[in-house]
């Protein structure tokens, strides 16, 4: 069973505490993505799993063994690096065969595996070339091929698509997902791109400053973020935030801001009761705002002034200013491209009450 278990994992570099009390269970055959901004500890965690960094405290289990003291070569893992790390003085074939030769596999077996992997990745014709003769995408495939031939228990990916241009990145993303479905091997993938995280992961781990912020399936993270950071990190364009005051009026809870006043939906009121009279953070995604029609209840709409119109083709983004000019708040609204608005025009926006998010102002936890 090729699971990976991290228990109370910590990593300290002199003064910097890079990974803090990480606990994670990656199940057999699962594709888990570690995502977060630079310096959040995701790469450090991956490198600790690989054995390239020493563990300050805690345990890592791969399969059924605690691997803390095992050198990388004995952990039965394979890694794909951001810069591919192809051995420049060897051919593609030798690059892929290197690991097997190190383990003294018989020549026939090595040949079989290399050709098999080459075929899966479509690089059979490149076997006799040297890395410098390959394009970026080809090099990346060779790097993946090198990992595949070893039939490891776990695949580790360290931002493998970051060096590719946008189009290639999208293409390779799909191929990697297909590959995972075919090979059914446990995989841990690190990226800073939340789109990659969402599209590739069975589960996603969001990290920040060495702490795990949330672990869950992609849509879970999208719909029910555990805190403000996750809410703002997942989803593009990012969620709109505003600091509001919670008021009680006429038996119902409202949130108030210099620029708008919205009702708190009844099913959320219970969570917000303790915050009466206090401030909280309100969040709403651009796609959960729309131009109001007569049918929208007044208590879920507000006024805004259009500042920038960004037509993207399949949709349109509106940058709107909410509230007085002295205390401006900008929000992004995603609308259908057929909507007709003009810059500096006032527009009435409606909020989807089911999709309103609230966060404690101080702890940033979701309410």
């Amino acid at each position: 069973m090729a699971q990976v278990l991290m228990k109370d994992l910590n990593k300290k570099y002199d003064e910097v505490h890079a990974v803090k009390d990480l606990n994670l269970h990656v199940r057999d055959k699962e594709f888990v993505v570690l995502v977060g901004p630079s310096g959040c500890g995701k790469s450090t965690t991956l490198r600790m799993i690989a054995g390239l960094e020493e563990i300050t405290s805690g345990e890592i289990v791969i399969g059924d063994r605690v691997v803390n003291d095992l050198p990388p070569k004995d952990r039965d893992i394979a890694m794909v690096f951001q810069n591919y790390a192809l051995y420049p003085h060897m051919t593609v074939y030798d690059n892929m065969a290197f690991g097997l030769r190190m383990r003294k596999y018989p020549k026939a077996e090595i040949d079989r595996r290399v050709r098999e992997a080459a075929e899966i990745l479509g690089i059979q014709d490149l076997l006799h070339r040297k890395p410098r003769q390959l394009s970026g995408g080809q090099r990346q495939r060779v790097a993946v091929g090198r990992a595949i031939v070893r039939h490891p228990q776990v695949f580790l990916f360290d931002e493998p698509l970051s060096n590719l241009d946008a189009k290639l990145r999208v293409q390779m993303r799909v191929e990697l997902k297909r590959l995972h479905e075919r090979l059914e091997t446990t995989a841990i993938y690190v990226t800073h791109d939340q789109v990659e995280a969402m599209t590739l992961g069975d589960r996603v781990v969001v990290m920040r400053d060495g702490w795990v912020q949330q672990v869950g399936e992609p849509l879970e993270l999208y719909a029910r973020p555990a805190n403000r950071f996750v809410a703002g990190f997942i989803g593009s364009p990012a969620m709109n935030f505003a600091d509001v005051t919670v008021l009680e009026q006429g038996g119902a809870l409202w949130i108030e801001h210099p620029g708008f006043r919205l009702r708190v939906p009844p099913d959320r009121a219970a969570r917000l009761q303790p915050y009466r009279g206090q401030r909280v953070t309100f969040g709403i995604r651009p796609e959960d705002l729309r131009v109001a029609t007569g049918a929208d209840p007044q208590e879920y709409t507000f006024e805004a002034v259009v500042e920038v119109v960004e037509p993207l083709g399949p949709e349109m983004l509106l940058d709107v200013r909410v509230g007085p000019a002295t205390l401006p708040l900008t929000m992004v609204v995603r609308v259908d491209p057929s909507v007709r608005v003009r810059v500096h025009e006032a527009v009435r926006l409606a909020v989807d009450p089911e999709r309103m998010h609230f966060f404690d102002l101080r702890t940033e936890a979701a309410l």
């Binding site: 009390d21 606990n23 269970h25 063994r65 095992l70 920040r208 949330q214």
Partner: protein, 330 residues
Amino acid sequence: MTDRLAGGAGSAAGVEVALPHPGAARAPARTRVLESERLLAAALLAPTVVLLGLFIAYPFVMGIWLALTDTSVGRPGRFVGLENFVRAWTDSIFQAAFRNTFVYTFWATVLKLSLGMWLALLLNRHFRGKRLVRASMLLPFIVPTVLSTFAWRWMFDPTFSVLNWTLYQLGLIGDRWWSLSPTKLPFLSDGTYALACAIVVNTWRGMPFFAITLLAGLQTINPDLHEAAALDGAGGWKRFWYVTWPLLKPVTLVVVVFSVIQTFADFQLIYVLTGGGPANSTHLLATYAYQVGVHSGLLGEGAAISLFMFPVLFAVVWLQLRYLRRLEGA
């Protein structure tokens, strides 16, 4: 099912399977050496450390001890404190050698730097045959010093010197009105002339080192800078002074320090060219130490003489490190 861990919260690990606690796997001992950073580093550095310890550190310490005794060949010595140093300091030949070493090093370095810089600037352009010229310019540096110095010695020979012949043909020696000297130049037979000749030979030999290294430094300077300066109205010399030189300072410093150390401790050139003569007037510290320590067999005194080199070398390197650190910090 979601595991929720907000920032700072403890660990709700969500471990579903209670594993029988697996034995920690440990690698075999041999792998540990080849793997562990510390052990491997120690193993890799050991040969170098042993070698340098045995043949530099140990002799250095022994040299200091020797200098404090009156050992000579065949006769073990007794401790005599600083007597050797004092004797050297009051010895007129030593004083000459000490002075010579400074003069020699100073002038040779100045000449090597200026000529080397000039040559580097010349070589920094494109012209046909550049590679050949560049390769052949290094020959004085490649060829064993002793052998090329012999060629120079032959060129300076009092009876057969080709240089004297040339000067005579050009009328610079002799009885023409533009002659600089009525008789042939006493290249190696006069103390001052001989030291000057040694400086010339050392310059000839060491200039390529400066030239090639400075050339490499020049080539890292963005040519756009020169073009911008030219457009701004700077002529050749100004361009050099304001654009090129500041960027070359670090490389120049390193090269100068290397060269100073080598020149200050020089032995071969003087040994072959003059042997320290005429009449011990061209000795350097190294050659005099050899004469006293090996020829005369006075090991203690010889060691003391060569140790006089150390403080100077130390000061030079220390100054360089400080200056470089300041350059980098700036």
